[in-house]
């Protein structure tokens, strides 16, 4: 069950949701996040660098993710991002929220023809 503290973050902006999903798989740097999001969504979601770092800034400030220094020398240019426990909770809560939205739509006769994915 999603905790009440994660509810405050919902609904989550699309970019932040995708970033959380990607980071749930492991830490990544900016370009890694971009290409992963694009690959996962089969090219339908492309985050531009501005959108990406704007979202990362917000998410760090709100405690959904945290910065992690990489072990190699390129620390400045390839800063890593890691999901926090709160981030995981929020991602799950957002997924559940969307799921219930979808379920609600399926129950509606007009759009009932939608096949389960």
């Amino acid at each position: 069950m999603p905790s009440s503290r994660s509810k405050a973050f919902l609904p989550l902006p699309v970019a932040e949701y995708h970033i959380l999903v990607t980071l749930a798989d492991g830490t990544r740097h900016g370009y890694g996040i971009m290409s992963d999001v694009e690959a996962r969504s089969a090219g339908s979601v492309r985050l531009g660098p501005g959108t990406l770092y704007s979202a990362l800034r917000r998410m760090v400030e709100r405690g959904l993710i945290e910065e992690a220094a990489p072990d190699n020398a390129e620390s400045e240019r390839r800063l890593l991002y890691r999901i926090t426990t709160l981030g995981r909770e929020v991602a799950v809560a957002e997924a559940q929220r969307m799921e219930s939205c979808v379920a609600m739509i399926r129950r509606t006769p007009l759009v009932g023809r939608m096949e389960p994915a």
């Binding site: 660098p49 990406l52 240019r77």
Partner: protein, 904 residues
């Protein structure tokens, strides 16, 4: 190749990070750059399409994300500043300013006449100032936007034996260039060039273009890389046989449509194929040369007296112009010692380096005229500010009551002061903006009106940042200064005093009135100076138009023909030109035609002359203009034969060498006796054959309308001094409008040789007009400024008189009630106006006489202190001033006594 390009694209696109707030930038810049670099490296972002798609996507991304970041920043700011004001309780600064502005706007709306006069005054003053300063900045102060332009110099030479004027263009010979190169260490690089004309073909038409022949790539000296391709290699310019060329950026775009594949291809120059190796940087337009060819010769192989080169040099960093000039003086001294015996022109010659921009803009008196204009404009600005000051002052006085009330109601003096300042600054900023708009609007037309000569040098006049900043300083400064003055009075007085003055309505204190009258006196005096200057130039132009030219300038078509040496061997050049003259002369509308190497009003070719019995080229050699002409030339020009005979077709290569001399030459060289039959020698070499003078022509103005006639020799073209000279001007006298015969003239030339271009087409009248252009422009400007100044002064006088009429409504009413006639009242007001105007005129007279020295170079035929002009101006101003005072005065005489008394 592509990898390099994509990293360049990445660097460019990484600049998008600038769209974000500083905090975001510092935090994410390197990551942002890293991502863009990787994106640019992706296979899908290769090729121009891919790069374009990437750029489009990134820009859209920034357009979306950056505003969000700024909004975020603003929110955090508001939060923190809100807490700040809560704690400190002083957060209403901005509110106060806003309130002041609103109040100022409202109170100005209530006095639209006042606001309008102030804004118009400032707009005219600032507009004119900005306009002229922009032009001045472009032409004189910083005409060439070259890197480190102050280290770029032209080397000027002065030959006292020739003319005594320092010249920069076509003045030095290649051996002298080598002397300078080897004898100095102050310069890091030199470029020497000679100017000429070449016909380029290829494409649809043959075209004559201004051409520079160079040693050492000028682009390196100037410090700007070529726009495309490469510059000349050193060896290309010094060894014969290199067939390469560079084109100016402007001809590349205008004639070749900016086709980048032109580089590496061949074009034909005078029929010979030449490979284009590069396109010049757009800013590099040395004296308007469109085609650049290497000299392709060793400077050593060219004779010392072939002085047709100019030298452009770059000073080493940190080397002063004085140090360079010391070295140049030493070079001149050594050359004189080494070659002075053989070439006596070296006696006393001087070499000096002058900043390139200055050297060029000193041509044609542009510099002088521009500075006079700047002075005039400064006066206009002064008048405008004086007007504004007077208006603001009297307004402050009339608002004494209001201020007193507000102070009594608890407003602090500082608050009221700020209010007055805000009003002043608001007014002057509106005026400044209007002025800037005027300047921008007029810049284009003005630039187009500049002489072609100026524009062909590659000089541009346009409004720039410096001008903008200066305008801003001037307008805000005016507002502050004159908003402050009333504020100062306010601070000095006690409330009771202010209320006291307020009760008797709007009265200016005695001192205030005197200050205002003083301002008006200044305005009238300044207008007087401008009017006088405009008047002097107007009279000078009239004098110049009355000058006896010595020939008839009307209905003469002029054009230039350069015979291609590749096509006509030197002995065929003159016969070809004569055939052209014959064909043109046979056109029905043509009275006569002739050709010559130069024609009035401006000769350029000179030589030295020695009389029989004197050693040629010795100390006694005299300066003389030498014109080579076909027999029809003097007839076409309409010069008078004063003695002897005209040169004619019998004077050819085989016949004895003959010449005609003008009256000035006859008088100067043969004092008293007839020159006919005398023998002279030309040039400074002893090899020249004797020339017999066979005729005397009447003087023509050959050094411009305003200079004395120079001695001149006319030599038959077939016996020309410089063998193989291939450039002739054609003069064609027509029965009707000369330009209408141009098609027939072209056709005649084409029939003789279809490939022969004619160019520099004009009329003698136009040449004369052009020679007066600088003067005419200066006069026009001064007249406009004088007009503005007088208008502003009249506005001031009108203001003063109507103000004092208003002020004295009661007094006038009582006087009239007591039986004073309208005439008496009129006299009262008139006296007030006249005192101001006459005082202004007297001071103006003194100032005008003092300033007239600056105009000396532009004044012709009259004294710079011309009494006629002075008198006319001194009479005009009081007349205009009284007329301006008349308008409010009429109101005064119509005051009804009862109404006047009731007004209280």
């Amino acid at each position: 190749m592509d990898a390099g390009r994509s990293s360049r694209v990445a660097r460019l696109l990484a600049q998008l990070v600038r769209a974000y707030p500083p905090a975001f930038r510092t935090r994410f810049r390197s990551q942002y750059e890293d991502v863009i670099q990787r994106l640019a490296g992706e296979p899908r972002h290769q090729g121009w399409r891919g790069r374009l798609a990437l750029a489009r996507w990134l820009i859209a991304d920034a357009a979306q994300a950056a505003p969000a970041e700024w909004k975020h920043l603003a929110q955090t700011r508001v939060e923190s500043s809100a807490s700040f004001t809560r704690h400190r309780g002083t957060g209403d600064r901005m509110d106060t300013l806003w309130q002041d502005l609103k109040y100022a706007a409202r109170s100005l709306r209530r006095a639209p006449g006042f606001a309008l006069v102030v804004v118009v005054s400032l707009a005219l003053g600032i507009g004119a100032n900005t306009l002229v300063f922009s032009v001045l900045d472009g032409l004189v102060l910083r005409p060439f936007a070259f890197p480190d332009a102050n280290r770029l110099v032209a080397i000027g030479a002065t030959f006292p034996k020739i003319s005594g004027d320092r010249q920069y263009i076509e003045v030095l010979s290649p051996p002298e260039y080598l002397d300078i190169r080897q004898g100095t260490r102050a310069f890091e690089r030199f470029t020497a060039f000679d100017l000429g004309n070449r016909t380029i073909s290829g494409g649809d038409r043959a075209e004559r273009v201004f051409t520079a022949f160079v040693w050492n790539d000028p682009q390196v000296t100037i410090g700007l890389p070529p726009a495309l391709g490469r510059g000349f290699r050193e060896e290309e310019t010094t060894t014969p046989g290199s067939s390469v060329a560079m084109l100016s950026h402007r001809i590349w775009t205008s004639r070749f449509g900016g086709d980048s594949s032109l580089v590496g291809r061949a074009i034909r120059v005078n029929g010979v194929p030449v490979t284009v190796v590069g396109i010049m940087h757009p800013s590099v337009l040395l004296l308007g040369a469109d085609l650049w060819l290497p000299m392709s010769a060793d400077p050593q192989d060219i004779p010392r007296q072939a002085r047709q080169w100019a030298i452009l040099a770059r000073l080493r960093p940190g080397v002063s112009a004085e140090a360079a000039n010391r070295e140049l003086a030493e070079v001149a001294r050594r050359t004189e010692a080494a070659h002075g015996a053989e070439h006596d022109v070296y006696v006393g010659w001087r070499l000096e380096a002058t900043p390139w921009a200055e050297a060029l803009s000193s041509r044609g008196g542009i510099r002088m005229a521009a500075f006079i204009l700047q002075g005039a404009v400064f006066l206009v600005l002064l008048i405008a500010t004086v007007n504004v000051a007077a208006l603001l002052l009297s307004r402050a006085a009339t608002r004494g009551h209001e201020m007193a009330m507000r102070r009594a109601l608890g407003a602090k003096t500082s608050r009221l002061t700020r209010q007055l300042l805000t009003e002043g600054v608001l007014l002057s900023c509106v005026g400044g903006a209007a002025g800037l708009a005027i300047a921008m609007g007029l810049m284009g037309p003005l630039t187009r009106a500049l002489p072609d000569l100026v524009l062909s040098m590659g000089i541009e006049a346009r409004p720039n940042l410096r001008v903008l900043v200066i305008t801003l300083i001037v307008s805000v400064g005016t507002g502050l200064a004159f908003g402050l003055a009333p504020a100062f009075t306010l601070a000095m007085r006690r409330t009771a005093q202010l209320i006291g003055t307020g009760t008797s309505r709007t009265t200016l204190s005695r001192r205030g009135r005197r200050v205002r009258a003083g301002f008006l006196v200044t305005q009238v005096a300044l207008s007087m100076v401008l009017l006088f200057a405009a008047g002097l130039l107007f009279r000078s132009l009239n004098e110049l138009k009355r000058v006896d030219l010595g020939f008839a300038p009307d209905r003469v078509l002029t054009m230039r023909v350069s015979v291609a040496r590749e096509k006509y061997p030197r002995e065929d050049i003159i016969p070809f030109i004569e055939r052209l003259v014959d064909r043109i002369g046979a056109i029905p509308d043509v009275q006569s035609a002739g050709a010559a190497t130069q024609y009035p009003p401006l000769n350029v070719f000179q030589s030295t002359l020695s009389l029989a019995g004197e050693p040629p080229g010795s100390q006694t050699a005299r300066q003389v203009d030498v014109t080579n002409a076909t027999p029809g030339f003097l007839t076409t020009l309409g010069t008078r034969l004063q003695g002897g005979r005209m040169i004619d077709a019998t004077d050819n290569e085989q016949s004895p060498r003959v010449a005609m001399i003008n009256e000035t030459g006859a008088r100067r060289f043969f004092a008293g006796r007839s020159p006919i039959g005398e023998r002279v020698f030309l040039g400074d070499s002893a090899s020249g054959a004797a020339v017999e003078i066979v005729g005397v022509t009447g003087d023509v103005r050959n050094r411009g309308l305003d200079a004395p006639v120079a001695p001149e020799l006319i030599i038959p073209a077939r016996q020309q001094q410089v063998e193989g000279n291939n450039q002739y001007y054609f003069l064609v006298r027509t029965t009707g409008e000369p330009m209408l015969t141009l098609p027939a003239v072209r056709e005649a030339v084409q029939r003789e040789d279809p490939d022969q271009p004619i160019y520099a087409i004009g009329t003698v009248e136009r040449d004369i007009g052009n020679s007066l252009l600088g003067r005419r422009a200066a006069m026009l400007f001064l007249a406009v400024f004088a007009g503005i100044a007088v208008t502003l002064a009249c506005v001031g006088i009108y203001g003063l008189v109507s103000y004092s009429v208003n002020e004295r409504v009661r007094e006038i009413g009582i006087r009239m009630a007591l039986g004073a006639a309208a005439q008496d009242v009129r006299r009262l007001v008139l006296r007030q106006t006249l005192v101001v105007v006459v005082l202004g005129v007297l001071i103006g007279l003194a100032a005008a006489l003092g300033a007239s020295g600056a105009l000396r170079s532009l004044v012709y035929g009259i004294s710079p202190t011309d009494p006629v002009t002075l008198l006319a101006v001194a009479l005009l101003l009081p007349a205009v001033g009284v007329a301006a005072g008349m308008i409010p005065m009429r109101r005064a005489t119509r005051i009804h006594p009862v109404e006047a008394l009731r007004e209280e």
